[in-house]
């Protein structure tokens, strides 16, 4: 792989890690704060604000995932794990670590 391609790959992985963290944090805020506020304190506004914010973060994460995977070099198992982990709270942080390891391997290979 040429160095410019590797640099591009690393940049894509950095963006993907950010998208993963954003998706993870917004899901935790939605499930851990906004939903209890709605059901136990009657503050429905909490979910009506956090719902769309998490929606955008979720779309961005999956859009990034499709983009990075269609660029090539990803095993089917890795992609499945990235999808499943994004659907559960804290799963995004597992994804972020996996992406960081992949990024570190790429940097080492340069």
């Amino acid at each position: 792989m040429q160095s410019s391609e590797t640099a591009e790959e690393i940049w894509q992985l950095r963006k993907m890690r950010s998208a993963s963290l954003l998706e993870g944090f917004t899901l935790i805020i939605l499930v851990g704060i906004a939903v209890p506020l709605k059901h136990f304190a009657g503050l429905a506004v909490a979910t009506s604000i956090m719902g769309p914010i998490h929606g955008i973060a979720f779309v961005f994460y999956f859009w990034m995932l499709i983009q990075i995977v269609s660029g090539g070099g990803w095993a089917r198992g890795e992609v499945t794990r990235m999808i499943v982990a994004a659907l559960v709270p804290f799963g995004a942080f597992v994804n972020e670590r996996a992406l960081a390891r992949r990024q570190a391997l790429l940097i080492e290979a340069v």
């Binding site: 391609e5 591009e8 894509q12 009506s48 769309p52 929606g55 955008i56 779309v59 961005f60 999956f62 859009w63 990034m64 995932l65 499709i66 983009q67 990075i68 995977v69 269609s70 660029g71 090539g72």
Partner: protein, 143 residues
Amino acid sequence: MVYLWLKAFHVVAAITWIGGMLAAAVVIAAATRNGPQRQSDGPSAFITSMRRWDQRVTSVAMLLTWALGLALALLGGWFPDVWLIVKLGVVLLLSALHGWLSGRLRRLHQQNSTRMPPSLRCIPFAVILAVSVVAILVVTKPV
């Protein structure tokens, strides 16, 4: 008044997004049809520009379309309506397709070639079909 301003910018963002997607789809289909170039040739200036446009304009327009669209749905109180749920599904598919096109464009830029089944050359038409469904749903709001 805020609703109308959001709606105007939502339409601008959507047109920019879909225009960029169509351009990327046509470029990828043309590159596939013309066959791979020699690796030593490097990416053409056209592919480089197309890719830059996709990253800096089309992708941003997609995110703006989503953000403004969700704001409009909340302000307008459209959320439980069936037409909106169906529209969201179609827009989700369009977003996925855009992600795939961006990835293919990156591959085309890096490798000067991309293998694509001939049947996928009809992607520009699929984009137009999806946009037609969205437009009809938004304008007529059937259910």
